[in-house]
Amino acid sequence: MEKDTLIMSFESSCDETSVAIIKNGNEILSNIIATQIKSHQRFGGVVPEVASRHHVEEVTKCINLAMDEAKVTYDDIDAVAVTYGPGLVGSLLIGIMAAKTVAFAHNLPLIKVNHLAGHIYSANFVTKLQYPFMALLVSGGHTELVSVTAPGVFHTLGDTRDDAVGEAYDKIGRVLGINYPAGKKVDQMAAVGSDTFDFPRAMVQEDNLDFSFSGLKSAFINTVHHADQVHEELNKDDLAASFQGAVLDILTNKTFKALKKHPVNQLIVAGGVSANQGLRKRLAAEIAKRNLDIELVFPPLRLCGDNAAMIGAMAQIQYEKGDFADLSLNADPSLDFDME
């Protein structure tokens, strides 16, 4: 029997401090997540300096909890992995400094992981991945269609030209009086309301695989402001359903365009917005309607948001390839697949 690989992984790119111990890239021994949502709710969004300060408060607690819960010692650990981008530079640096320190202190190899790759590999905890597969990555920072042709080999097929989809949810949520992060609440309201406002579906006629949400966001905000001026009361559930209806049309349209061009057996949906129930139902219904033989994979809810387990899953591939970093590793806040 081959020896198991245990990787200690760190994630701190935004407002979650997370440390995980992952076995062979697909088994979670521990995945500690400290979230700062309550702190940033005070300000209506993530404040980078506040986030960086919280990461310093949490980091060693998360390390110790992860070790305790996994019931391992440093002798059991084979490598240390960390998100080095994209993300907020001050936040990224805390995870990077802690990971480098642990690697140095225990003489372990260091692995630098792309946060976006981590999100995609959260699917590794759900199913056996079959290459090539397609990934729809939807979060507060990203909206991308990615073709994964072999372990750790990514090709971005489409990207957002303006707002990320999760960002659009937060912005229209603010107009509806919903506190950050707004995605879950808007999803719940949308389930009750009807799509009556007919907001624009940007770029669905175009042949490319890129996304745009700023036109939709503006149309939404203008509609609400206009109603305010003429003292007209709009149904908020219908507003939410109309917004989400447009979002799902855009995401679905581009995803199936991509699948037509690049046929695969698996569609992975990852990132914070993959928790959206409307999106989950819609994609499943579209696959059934089109009679496609595609396995639709969503990470469990706990692995949709930022977490270190997904970083450990991606790191396993790099570990097997011998793709190691050294102690001079720095943050790369605007890292993307195409820059690698």
Partner: protein
């Protein structure tokens, strides 16, 4: 006792390994190198020069701020993680006290860090029985208010440390007879940090050890200014 000491509070990066008062290795860089890139390679190099491994170290000493927010976070994160993961003792020393260690120990020492718009991080220190003591606590202050607090001392006994050209100008207008040591002549020295650490109580709870920023973030400042109260029962960060 073997001490590993480092400081990244400001532009210089200083690392030292000191064994019972003897400096085994000492690296200092004044170039604009990125601390996040250099700090661990520099620590590794200092240990190699000392013929020690990190396991041989008894105590980690770090300058805990005030200073550049990102800078102090880098050193503090490395220090607390290292101390925690290897179960070593950890000592945090004020970054201003470390600057005061560069002064003439017969003077009233006023270490400074320029915080722009004629503000500074500053503290007042004096050597009592051979030990550097804090006599006015470290704070973020306007230079004008600092001068009011310093009026009680004989200006001939004052020595300002780490003054930028602008702060030097303000000081010389107010106290023409005071000593002023400029920034380029008062580089923080990790060997002195190790020395100060020997007489400082180790951190009791490493998990909750954080930098001394001496300033709220702008967002928090504005939030409190709107009349919000910090609810002691609510934790802003929670494990999920």
């Amino acid at each position: 006792m073997k001490i590993l000491a480092f400081d990244t509070s400001n532009k210089p990066l200083s690392v030292a390994v000191v064994d019972d008062g003897k400096v085994l290795a000492h690296t200092e860089s004044t170039e604009m190198k990125t601390h996040s890139i250099s700090i661990l390679p520099d620590i590794k190099e200092a240990l190699e020069k000392s013929n020690l491994t990190v396991d041989d170290i008894d105590l980690i000493a770090v300058a805990k701020g005030p200073g550049s927010y990102t800078g102090v976070r880098i050193a503090v994160t490395v220090a607390k993680t290292l101390a925690d993961t290897l179960a070593k003792k950890l000592v945090g020393v004020s970054s201003l006290k470390l600057l005061a260690a560069n002064g003439d120990q017969t003077h009233i020492l006023v270490p400074l860090m320029d915080a722009r718009n004629d503000n500074a991080f500053a503290g007042v220190y004096q050597t009592v029985d051979g030990k550097l003591e804090n006599i006015i606590e470290d704070q973020h202050t306007s230079m004008e208010k600092l001068f009011e607090k310093l009026a009680q001392y004989d200006e001939n006994s004052l020595e300002f440390i780490n003054a930028t050209p602008r702060l030097q100008e303000l000081i010389q207008n107010q106290f023409p007879n005071a000593q002023v040591i400029t920034t380029e002549n008062s580089l923080p020295d990790a060997a002195k940090l190790a020395q100060l650490a020997q007489t400082t109580k180790p951190v009791e709870d490493i998990d909750s050890f954080v930098p001394t920023y001496l300033r709220l973030t702008q967002a928090e400042h504005d939030w409190y200014a709107k009349g919000h109260k910090d609810d002691g029962n609510v934790s802003y960060v929670e494990e999920v």
